[in-house]
Every structure is written in C-alpha cells, then in structure tokens.
Symmetry: C2
DNA sequence: CTAGCCCTGCGAACACCTTGCAGCTACGAC
DNA sequence: GTCGTAGCTGCAAGGTGTTCGCAGGGCTAG
C-alpha cells in the first residue's frame, strides 16, 4: 500500500527518502514547529540528519502541498501539516503567547479583500499581532523581559 | 521653539541627538523603509552613522511612539512614522508586490477578535499574505523567479 | 563651565538560512 | 537481480540581518 504523501511526492517527480518521511512525521507530531525544532524531532530517530536537509525538505513538502508555513514572530517561520484545521495565529507582542483561532472569524474580512481589491488571501499564512487578554488587563509598562 | 518629537523623547528621559533627528526624518521621507534603507537615507546627510545606531534609534523612536514597524516579508521589517494613515499591507507571495489599504476594511474582524477573544489587535502591524489580482488572473505556475 | 551618564561608532558575535561540492541512494531500464 | 544516472544528503563555508560589549565623546543638569 502506498501512502498518500508518497503519491504526492511522486506526482511531482520527487523521490521517496527516509528524511522526507521523517520530516513530514515530525511536522505532524509537533503541530507547530520551526526548522530547528523539526530538526530536533527528526534527530530523535535519525541523529545524522542535517539542518540544511530540513530546509530543503520543507521546501519540497511545501511545494507539493503537504505542509505550509506561517510567519509568527520576526524570526523563524513555523511549519504545520496541511490536514490540520485552517487557523489564524494571534501573537501577543508583550508576552509572546500564540493563540490559534478558527479561520472562519476572518471570513468577512477575506471576502472584502477579494471583492474590493481582487486579493486572494492565504489566511493561514497571516499572523495577527497585538495584545492578548491577560496582558491587556495587567497593563504593566514593560514588555516580556523574560527572555522566552 | 521645541519640536514635538523632541518633547516626546525628553518626556521618556531620552536625549536629543542629531542621529535621532536624522533617523526620524529619514523614516518620514521614505514612508516605508527597512533599517538598511534608512541607513542609506541618513548617510546622505551624515555618512559616519552606523547601522547599529539605526537599530538602536528605531527601537527608541518606537518606544516613545514616533514610529512603528510591520513585518512584510520574512526578512527585514519596515518602519514608518505614526502620523501616517493607519493601513494594512497586502503582500503578494507570487510577485512580491505590496499594496496598502485603509485599516477600516478590517474593522469588523478586529471587533470580533476583541469581543470573542479579548485580543486587542495592532492592525497596522499585520501583513496579509496571498495573491494579488494580477497574479490570480495570470495563473502561471512559477513564482517570481525574477530575483526582485 | 563642569561632571556624569547616555549615546555612538566599531568590531565581533549571533541567529537564521543558503549554497557548492562530493559521495550516496532511489528507482527506472534492462 | 544489477546497473546507471540523476536526484538527494551531509558537510562546511558563506551570506544576510540583528545584537552586544566596550571605549570614547557629546548632551544636559547644576
């Protein structure tokens, strides 16, 4: 039996390799993962895998539509599998917390962008910045001096 | 006569320096500028200014509320003066074009986030990714192989 | 004018990502 | 099964964007 992801890679002329399988499994296991985190997860099984392989593999997997990425902070992007529910990231700029909410909340906004500007929005790629409930209620005037 | 920006800095205990003035003027002149672009603009007047000073100055100016930044691509953030009209960036992932639209378009979305999730959205900090009208109408299957 | 501390320039360091290359391996052809 | 080749990987070096430590200099209060 041939798994769906193998099919997907072959369709696009890519080969099936242990590394590609491991990266895909890592992404699914982590739900949200930076390339670095994915590397660590993959290395639990295969310690020899290199970071550059992670990057190249993620690019391939994204190309064939098995994973997507979103820019949450300003640094590392986070990857997740496509069969997850489509969601939007709410990023608190004060405490760095990330909250996921259903994409439906933005439906009318997305529709307005499409109708008024002809812009097709990739809503899962968006990250919304602001302040979460907790930080808003406790308005101390210093932002996240805890280095994460 | 004391300019408004000087007042603003003093209020927060910061000093007035030529570098801070030049950076602020550069941001206002460029309307959208990365730190690197701001450096170039500043160096047209004062060639000795260093990049690290740009970063530190932008941090100070943002702290006192004279400039803000938004993450447009995945790389350099762009800074702009706060007296600009609040706007949202529409980023086309295919042709890299950036379009600015009035923040009002997202009003109901922002309201929903506030009411349903207690999240206070900094809408000008958001960048929305997707495909612009032109790229959507000409669906060629290669993305921006022109290296910008 | 003077003293003190903030601010700046400089260089090194850091984080994140990409690239060139040599060897290995998946996979179609036989 | 085995062979050949092109695609893939590991490694190390390099690139870009950003931060930090330090020593000297300039802004400001007194």
């Amino acid at each position: 039996m041939t798994a769906d992801w193998e099919e997907r890679l072959r369709e696009h002329g890519f080969r099936i390799t242990p590394q590609r399988q491991l990266v895909l499994e890592a992404v699914e296991a982590l739900r949200h993962g930076t390339p670095e985190e994915i590397l660590v997860e993959v290395q639990r099984t295969a310690s020899g895998v290199n970071l550059s392989t992670i990057y190249r593999t993620l690019e391939v997997l994204e190309d064939v539509g098995l994973v997507t990425h979103a820019h949450i902070g300003h640094g590392a992007p986070t990857y997740h599998a496509v069969d997850e529910h489509v969601h939007i990231h709410l990023v608190c700029d004060r405490c760095r917390a990330v909250q996921s909410i259903p994409a439906g909340v933005a439906a009318s906004f997305v529709a307005a962008l499409r109708d008024d500007y002809g812009f097709r929005t990739d809503i899962s790629h968006v990250s919304v910045h602001g302040h979460c409930r907790d930080c808003e209620e406790a308005p101390r005037h210093h932002e996240a001096d805890d280095p994460l």
